[in-house]
């Protein structure tokens, strides 16, 4: 089975992770713009981060046969630094139309402050202007209220529920999100979000329509193989294969395809990995290690 991990902060992960993901069948990842575990204090470091996730990180992923996409946005935590947030809003349009940008995100609320609300709304307008999907980060604290509020504000700004992926759901939020017609994503992230066994229960109860599974792997204790592992557990517990494939692959594709930047044809055909071409000069190719070259039908 092929998988997409539609929420993975690969900039924090190692090449071993990429190799393991590719070996487990992950063909594509989506890297949402988020914070780095600590706040940035200057817009310049934010700009460099955005260019890194749509530039070098995409390149790095390609060396392991993983297709890398990203979302561009100002996250809710850093929205609370008004000077920074204003400056980031200035530069977002410069990045939001680049190759591989599949959504505005992850945006939404953290503590549901007035500043978070202001920049959330401005970014929803930007998504509407550029006809991009939106990825919503729902808050860890006061989650249910924050989720309901996020959806209401999306509707208020003229977005259609089909254009919006509401992420980090749990048992308490899923019903409302599905009832209102939004995509409901779940992050299988040990200890703070969902576990894989709970996820399988949700699939059994709600089916897989508009349900999306991701790892949200980042710099914390997290698992880049959470999507294939959850799929395996679901299959073992009798969830039909077509439902597993919807939740762990096809729904993410359908949700983000309207960006025009992600398509199954991107990974149709044999995987092409050419470490000679693209990653030259990086230390992984030094030390006499032979570059991996597979699936090339002609020399570069």
């Amino acid at each position: 089975m092929q998988y997409i991990d539609p929420h993975a902060h690969m900039i924090s992960r190692t090449t071993d992770d990429y190799q393991a993901m590719a070996a487990a069948g992950v063909v594509a990842v989506i890297e949402p713009a988020f914070w780095l575990g600590q706040p940035r204090t200057h817009v310049a470091s934010y700009a460099d981060y955005l260019s890194a996730i749509l530039g070098f990180e995409r390149f790095r992923a390609s060396q392991f046969g993983v297709h890398h996409y990203c979302t561009i946005g100002l996250n809710s935590k850093e929205a609370n630094d008004e000077a920074l947030a204003e400056a980031v809003m200035e530069i977002l349009p410069l990045f939001a139309q680049k190759d591989g940008v599949v959504a505005i995100g992850e945006i939404g609320y953290d503590e549901q402050t007035a500043l978070e609300d202001r920049y959330f709304r401005l970014q929803l307008d930007l998504a509407r202007e550029l006809s991009l999907p939106v990825m919503i980060h729902t808050p860890h604290r006061d989650k249910k209220q924050g989720t309901l509020r996020s959806m209401a504000v999306c509707l208020e700004h003229g977005l259609s529920p089909a254009q919006v992926v509401v992420d980090h759901n749990n048992e308490e939020t899923v019903r409302d999100v599905l009832d209102q017609g939004f995509w409901a994503a779940f992050s299988i992230y040990p200890s703070t979000k969902m576990g894989d066994a709970r996820m399988v229960e949700i699939l059994k109860r709600y089916g897989a329509d508009r349900i999306i599974v991701n790892s949200a792997c980042d710099w914390g204790i997290s698992d880049p193989l959470a999507v294939p592992k959850t799929a395996r557990l679901a299959l073992e517990q009798g969830v039909p294969a077509e439902q597993v494939s919807l939740a762990c692959y096809a729904n993410a594709l359908t949700a983000f395809a309207p960006s025009g930047q992600i398509s199954e044809t991107d990974w149709a055909g044999p995987a092409v990995i050419d470490q000679r071409t693209s990653f030259a000069g990086n230390s992984i190719l030094r030390g006499g290690r032979e570059a991996v070259v597979t699936g090339l039908d002609s020399a570069f």
Binding site: A47, D48, L50, S51, L54, G55, F56, R58, F59, I91, P93, L94, F95, A96, Q97, K98, D99, G100, G260, R276, T277, S278, F279, A280, G281, N282, G288, A291
Partner: protein, 264 residues
């Protein structure tokens, strides 16, 4: 040169793009051609258009005939657009169309675009070097580009371009040649390789060859081309002789030719 190059780029990209893309491109060219340098709204419009090019025009290799390639050479000696892409050519055209009265204006605009550029955009920005006005103002930007980890970006500067031979000082030139070997790229597409050969580069390459040999790694046969003319001067005749006895027939041929020519 600038106007004639723009005309060629407009023809090549317009004929390959869909009708909607052509209209979009012409509208942007009109808008950007009329901008006032330094106007933030205009610079923002340029940056957004720069990103949107593939969405509007599509992407892929730039389709060129033999006549097109000859026309490029006539407009700008050394301009070799054979490895350019459709989207890259359109991006370069947008940048050429911007009014830029001074080297500082052009440098600032190039730097802003380069700092936000994804790898494909970086390739385009650097491939355009032979065509830019005030090109010498960009030498430090080019130095930054050469530090890349992404080989196509490096090659956009080093290969099929008259820019390095015309604008780089010896130190930058030498390190570009060394890096080309270091990252398993090739030297043949570097313009001016023989004209700009120098003893210091030959010395650097001699030491690099020794380091490779000590590590039991293959030495590019292209290396001897830059080392041969200075082998005696830098004390590398033994290195050449060793390579001329190599098990590898290509290495033997490359080094042996220099032994013959220099009567070592």
């Amino acid at each position: 040169m600038n106007d004639a190059a723009q005309e060629l780029l407009r023809d090549w990209t317009a004929r390959q793009a869909p009708a909607t893309g052509r209209e979009w491109l012409d509208a942007r060219l009109g808008q950007i051609g009329a901008m006032t340098p330094g106007d933030p709204a205009a610079e923002r419009a340029l940056a957004i258009a720069f990103g949107q090019v593939p969405r509007q025009l599509g992407r892929g290799p730039l389709a060129l005939t033999a006549d097109d390639i000859a026309a490029a050479e006539a407009v700008r000696p050394g301009w070799r657009p054979q490895s350019w892409s459709l989207e890259g050519a359109a991006r370069i055209l947008l940048l050429l169309r911007c009014p830029s009265a001074t080297p500082d204006t052009f440098h600032a605009r190039f730097q802003r675009l380069r700092r936000a550029a994804d790898p494909a955009e970086q390739v385009a920005l650097f491939q355009g070097l032979p065509l830019y006005p005030h090109a010498h103002a960009l030498v430090d930007e080019v130095g930054e580009g050469l530090r890349t980890n992404i080989r196509p970006v490096f090659e956009a500067i080093a290969h099929h371009s008259p820019y390095p031979r015309e604008h780089m000082d010896e130190h930058r030139w030498n390190h570009m040649v060394l890096k080309a070997l270091f990252v398993d790229s090739t030297l043949a597409p570097i313009q001016g390789l023989d004209a700009r050969a120098n003893p210091d580069l030959a010395r650097i390459l001699r030491d690099y060859a020794r380091e490779r040999r000590a590590a039991g790694r293959r030495i590019s046969v292209e290396l001897w081309r830059c080392l041969g003319p200075f082998a005696a001067e830098i004390g590398a005749v033994d290195d050449l002789a060793l390579a001329a006895r190599s098990d590898d027939p290509e290495e033997r041929a490359a080094a042996g030719a220099w032994m013959e020519r220099e009567h070592f």
